[in-house]
Amino acid sequence: MSLGGEWYLILAAILFTIGAFGLLVRRNILVMFMCVELMLNAVNLSFVTFARMLNDIGGQVVVFFVLVVAAAEVVVGLGIIVAIFRRRAGATADDLHILKG
């Protein structure tokens, strides 16, 4: 008998909050990106929890798709970051507020 789903949902909420906080506070683009991954993982955890609570495999299928989209997002995002850093080393998110080459 596993623990009730509420515990997992609360943990997912806290994890999402930490990710959102990091995204807002940190300036290093790579760390901001990792915080986005944290938030995605929190959502995945709540999806799996709901799959168990409602006894429906659909939640786990959605997590599968989230994983694929996250992989694609990381590839493109890191490509953009590499392109930015090639133009100006040590760029932070604040340095990029003018979208101009």
């Binding site: 515990w7 930490i18 429906d56």
Partner: protein, 221 residues
């Protein structure tokens, strides 16, 4: 079978949850508060492993394996590659970031408001209702003992076949986008450097040829 239970779960399940939750939260704080991006990436691995344990705990075995293989194996390695490639693995002073006090507190306040809203929703106990769709049950016992991979695969290749195919298109687009973004654009500066390098190479090759010819002639005479 143990006779007593903690919060409606066996002590083993409860302990597993508590330890995994501690690992997840410690990793998450590590990601946010590390000064060194490499430490952030490694903390991210810790969080991902904790989430994988929680997946196993909720009978999502396949997703736990994929979580470790894809996230910890591929995505974090990609992060580390980029960190090393760009050479941004030096320490960063988190305290002198140009965030005003108002911004810092707003950055703390807004997620906290969201957290309390989410916890309020989680506190409303019976909100996760709704009839399960006809895709099949999640846990093995309810579905006649079929393993999780079996159920997930069956659902993925029947009910969710079109989204699955669209996923393939998405991955191809991502690969093409990454190649386009990572390609070094031809610039005048680079062309100049290339031309210089080529001239140097040609000169060296000529000298080497001359030497070879001289050696050859020497050997003949």
């Amino acid at each position: 079978m143990l006779a007593f239970s903690v919060f409606g779960a066996t002590p083993v399940d409860f302990l597993t949850f508590v330890i995994a939750a501690a690992i997840v939260l410690a990793g998450a704080f590590g990601v946010v508060f590390s000064r060194n991006p490499v430490h952030s990436a490694l903390s991210l691995v810790m969080t991902l492993f904790g989430v994988a344990v929680l997946f196993v705990e909720q009978h999502a075995d396949f997703l736990a394996a994929v979580q470790v293989i894809v996230y910890a194996g591929a995505i974090v390695v990609l992060f580390l590659f980029v960190i090393m490639l760009l050479g941004v693995d030096r320490e960063e002073n988190v305290d002198v970031e140009p965030l005003g006090p108002v911004q810092r507190w707003a950055g703390l306040l807004i997620p906290l408001v969201g957290l309390f809203l989410l916890l309020f929703l989680a506190g409303v106990r019976d909100w996760a209702t709704g009839t399960p769709s006809a895709r099949g049950a999640a846990s093995g016992s309810a579905a006649g003992g079929a393993p999780n991979v079996d159920l997930l695969g069956r659902s993925l290749f029947t009910g969710f076949l079109l989204p699955f195919e669209v996923t393939a298109v998405l991955l191809v687009i991502a690969v093409v986008g990454a190649v386009v973004l990572a390609r070094r654009p031809p610039r005048a500066e680079q062309a100049e450097m290339l031309a210089e390098q080529r001239a140097l190479d040609e000169q060296l090759a000529k000298e080497r040829d001359a030497e070879l010819v001289a050696e050859h002639l020497e050997g003949r005479s």
